[in-house]
């Protein structure tokens, strides 16, 4: 069937990863997220065919079309359970899920909670623009109070979700926050997320230039804002280290998550508990050992004998 099976794995280049030209509006924040993602993949040299990008529905969720890799564009809000199925049944793959704030925190909110708790090995990148982009400016679960949208012409009245707090309380094992205007920081967060064993989430503040222009200027020094980084503990026994952030402490993570908008950027929390992949595999190994490597036919035969 195949025409060529190269002996030497080909080097993964950004060029090979580029697919169709993205259909996002010019200057949409999501372009920068895509560019940073390409660079990280190139740096990490993941085998091309092992990259799997999946998404729900929304502007951000068009992501898989713009990456030349195996991919799947799913339904609104359900990308995480889908990605979990891929990760658990194909531990050889690198699974990346993408989506927006509506997809992840509203219609998919419950799945986010449970995916975090279950901790499958995959990376989830949320492009949070504080608005529903694809459906043209309705209030999103992260829209700030007072935001004027087509569903709240008088300004949003419902308390927004605090994504970091939601993720911490759901026991996500890697939680980071970054800004689409800070490419280097974004890349660093993506890389650490990818290297984390288990469920890693990165929230990227990514501006919708059409429906919520200027939303993240406060976090962008070029627009007069401030991009304040989380200073992580160096564990160097110095007095300065006391004040630094312990990424393994939920209490510390909550404290940063409580800081007024635009807040801080970086890794809020990281905990290397075993992934669901590892735990399920342990279950498989234990069962296989118990039945001494019996094949399906032996197993069925034995079971039927008990039914006689």
């Amino acid at each position: 069937m195949s025409t060529a099976a190269p002996a030497e794995p080909e080097k993964l280049t950004k060029k090979a990863l580029i697919s169709d030209h993205p259909t996002w509006c010019p200057a949409c924040g999501d372009f920068a997220v895509l560019a940073a993602f390409f660079k990280v993949l190139e740096k990490l040299q993941i085998p091309h065919e092992k990259i799997c990008t999946v998404a729900g529905i929304g502007c951000a969720s068009r992501f898989p079309y713009f990456v030349n890799s195996h991919g799947l564009h799913y339904i609104h809000g359900r990308v995480l359970p889908l990605a979990m199925g891929i990760s658990l049944s194909r531990p050889d793959l690198h699974v990346f899920a993408f989506g927006g704030d509506g997809d992840g925190f509203s219609i998919g909110g419950n799945h986010l909670e449970h995916c975090a708790r279950k901790n499958p090995n995959l990376t989830y990148i949320i492009m949070d623009n504080f608005v529903y982009g694809l459906t043209k400016k309705q209030t999103s679960p992260t829209s700030p109070l007072g935001f004027k949208s087509k569903t709240d012409p008088g300004g949003a009245i419902d308390q927004p979700v605090n994504p970091m707090k939601k993720l911490i309380s759901s026991s996500a094992s890697f939680i980071a926050r970054t800004h689409a205007a800070q490419v280097k920081h974004m890349m660093e967060m993506f890389e650490r997320a990818i290297k984390h064993p288990g469920f890693s989430v990165v929230e990227v503040l990514s501006e919708c230039v059409i429906f919520y222009k200027g939303a993240f200027d406060d976090g962008n020094p070029r627009k007069g804002g401030e991009f304040e980084l989380i200073e992580e503990k160096a564990w160097d026994d110095t007095p300065e280290d006391d004040a630094r952030h312990d990424v393994t402490s939920e209490a510390d993570a909550y404290a940063i998550a409580d800081i007024q908008y635009p807040g801080k950027f970086g890794v809020f929390y990281q905990n290397e508990r075993p992934s669901k992949n590892t735990l399920e595999q342990q279950g498989i190994d234990a069962s296989r050992e118990k039945c001494a490597g019996a094949d399906a036919r032996d197993l069925l035969k034995k079971r039927f004998a008990l039914m006689k």
């Binding site: 025409t3 065919e49 049944s89 399920e280 498989i284 399906a296």
Partner: protein, 603 residues
């Protein structure tokens, strides 16, 4: 009219003889009525096991209370040496543990039946001359036998001992089954069980009841038979078919399938995920399907509704997926522990848009195993979602059947061989062919699977011509499946007056009704659909041999007077002679209800 063969052989109760009389019987319906904590299911299950081992035919009928402990519970076992197709219209024996069990079930006992009751709890109306009453102090004798503990646990086993004696069952085999059953419990549990069993076995009914029974020897080859329930059969069918991944969310009566898959799959190197809800469950299963594995999800009525959007995705993306729906009484939470067949339209037409998919229904417990294998074959070959519509009655009913031949067990393979430059997942002129992730793409272009309308390469397209052609393609591939299916077998003659048409668990009662009607010289035959959507070809040919048609199903006749399958058949064949027999009382069809409807249909 009683369908019970015992009725024809009953001894005259006015017979003056006092010596014990042994009767040869073909089959008996024994209904045990008590509370769920009495272990009614245990006796029923043990009897069914024994019958299976003794080459007897066996069929059970259970009602399980929704509450976990407490609440009325019944278990009905029909044991026989001929063909046993339904749980039986009426009971030949009623074992009543309590006053309310007696009061609620005495009407299910046929005339001249036997009511065996616990004199410690039941005061029957002894003036009722319809039936024979036999009082046994079940509770106090059990307590005495076990050693004076105030607890009466074990009276189920006492009753089992009583029945073993009464029906001259194979004591040795039964004792062995009991021992296996209690193998993993504390030894005192087995000891008490055996004390109770022996007390029941030794109990002399003598003076009050001078009959005992003996089944005709069974005809089936007992060595090769297994005894189990429909959900278990379905579970092992999936395993034999090479299904290794799946996800689900608990709901009665689906749960026992997912529980068994969760503990069995790791032995086969697979994984079953307990999801947070049904939307997640089907999504996880679709993730596994996209990854190159045939995957399973399942639920009961309300959960199937929740899966609908994603099920539409599976049709659009053309992914192989098995969706099990163990139907129960609806709508809404409905009757969670009763049987109904009201999800047919939902299974076929649920979800938005035109979403062709395959619907199969097993006809009995044995068929639950084979339907899983057939579902897997179709899902793989046609790269399509397949819904299996089983039901509450099949889920928990225990039957004995021939041990499945394991030579066809499927070892699943992951196909990630590199794909050529001209790779097309959805060619217009050939079968769907996905390249799962991990597949090297020689042309350097990687596929993205999508729920948007797409062209042959899977690229999103809203071109009107493409949408029409792709809609045709998704429909036509299942029409191709239809032409490859065997046309249904006729039970009875190829020509006659009435053709009964059924699907799912009504198979047994319909077949028994046909046998009874034919026995009375009526021209009645039946066909049963396992492949419901698409239907096999040839049904119209079969119909040519009959004057009228009666579609029998457990759902409502709706606004226009026809059940769900009847509506489909009328739409397909536009034949006004298609009539409908429906019911929604949460209980399977009785033979006499079908016979009555056949007669009425001629008027």
């Amino acid at each position: 009219m009683s369908s019970s063969p015992i009725a024809d052989q009953k001894p005259s109760t006015t017979d003056a003889t006092t010596s014990e009389r042994k009767e040869d019987i073909n089959n008996a319906v024994i209904r045990l009525a008590g509370n769920s904590q009495d272990g009614i299911q245990t006796i029923g299950g043990l009897l069914a096991r024994l019958a299976g081992r003794s080459a007897q035919e066996v069929m059970t009928y259970m009602t399980i209370p929704s509450t976990i402990s407490g609440g009325a519970s019944i278990f009905q076992v029909r044991i026989g040496s001929g063909e046993v197709l339904s749980p039986g219209d009426d009971a030949d024996f009623l074992i009543a543990f309590y006053q309310d069990s007696y009061e609620n079930h005495i009407s299910t006992l046929r005339e001249d039946g036997v009511c065996l009751y616990d004199t410690d709890h039941v005061e029957p109306d002894l003036t009722d001359s319809r039936v024979t009453f036999v009082g046994v102090p079940m509770t106090s004798t059990t307590i005495e036998a076990i050693g004076g503990s105030a607890r009466d646990r074990g009276k189920n086993i006492f009753v089992l001992g009583l029945l073993t004696n009464l029906f001259d069952l194979q004591r040795e085999k039964l004792v062995h089954i009991i021992e296996t059953q209690f193998k993993n419990k504390h030894e005192s549990v087995l000891r008490n069980a055996m004390l109770a069993f022996d007390a029941g076995y030794a109990y002399q009914l003598g003076d009050i009841f001078n009959r005992s029974y003996e089944f005709h020897p069974g005809e089936a080859d007992s060595e090769e038979r297994i005894t189990t329930d429909g959900n278990t059969a379905l579970t092992y069918g999936l395993l034999a078919a090479g299904v290794r991944y799946g996800a689900g969310y608990p709901i009665t009566p689906w749960s026992s399938i997912m529980e068994q898959l969760r503990s069995e799959l790791p032995k086969y190197g697979g994984i079953f995920v307990q999801s947070e809800d049904e939307l997640a469950a089907i999504s996880t299963a679709i993730g596994c399907a996209y990854s190159g594995h045939l995957a399973v999800t399942g639920s009961s009525g309300p959960g199937l509704s929740l899966k609908m959007e994603a099920l539409g995705y599976a049709s659009m993306a053309e992914l192989p997926l098995i969706v099990i729906n163990v139907q129960r009484g609806g709508p809404s939470t409905g009757l969670p522990t009763s049987v109904e067949q009201s999800d047919l339209m939902q299974a076929i037409y649920g979800s938005h848009g035109d979403t062709p998919r395959v619907i199969l229904a097993p006809k009995d417990v044995e068929d639950c195993y084979y339907i899983a294998i057939e579902a897997a074959r179709i899902a793989r070959e046609f790269s399509t979602p397949v819904v299996i519509l089983t039901d509450q009655a099949l889920s928990s009913r225990i039957e004995a059947f021939a041990e499945p031949d394991l030579s066809g067990v499927v070892t699943p393979e992951l196909d990630i061989e590199p794909r050529d430059e001209d790779f097309k997942p959805y060619p217009f002129d050939a079968q769907t062919n996905h390249a799962p992730p991990g597949t090297k793409m020689s042309g350097g272009k990687y596929p993205v699977v999508t729920g948007l309308e797409h062209d042959e390469w899977g690229h999103p397209s809203s071109n009107p011509e493409i949408h029409q052609k792709m809609t045709d393609r998704r429909r036509d591939k299942l029409k191709r499946l239809a032409t490859s299916l065997p046309s249904p077998e006729i039970h009875g003659a190829e020509e006659g007056e009435v053709l009964l048409i059924g699907w799912g668990s009504t198979w047994g009662p319909i077949r028994e009704a046909v046998n009874a009607a034919r026995g009375n010289g009526q021209g009645v035959s039946a066909i049963h659909l396992r492949h419901i959507h698409p239907m096999p070809e040839g049904i119209d040919k079969i119909m040519e041999g009959f004057n009228r048609f009666l579609v029998i199903e457990m759902n409502d006749e709706g606004m226009y007077g026809y059940g769900q399958l009847a509506t489909l058949l009328r739409a397909r064949y536009a034949n006004p002679k298609i009539q409908s027999l429906t019911k929604c009382d949460g209980i399977g069809f009785k033979i006499r209800e079908i016979i009555a409807a056949i007669e009425k249909s001629g008027n």
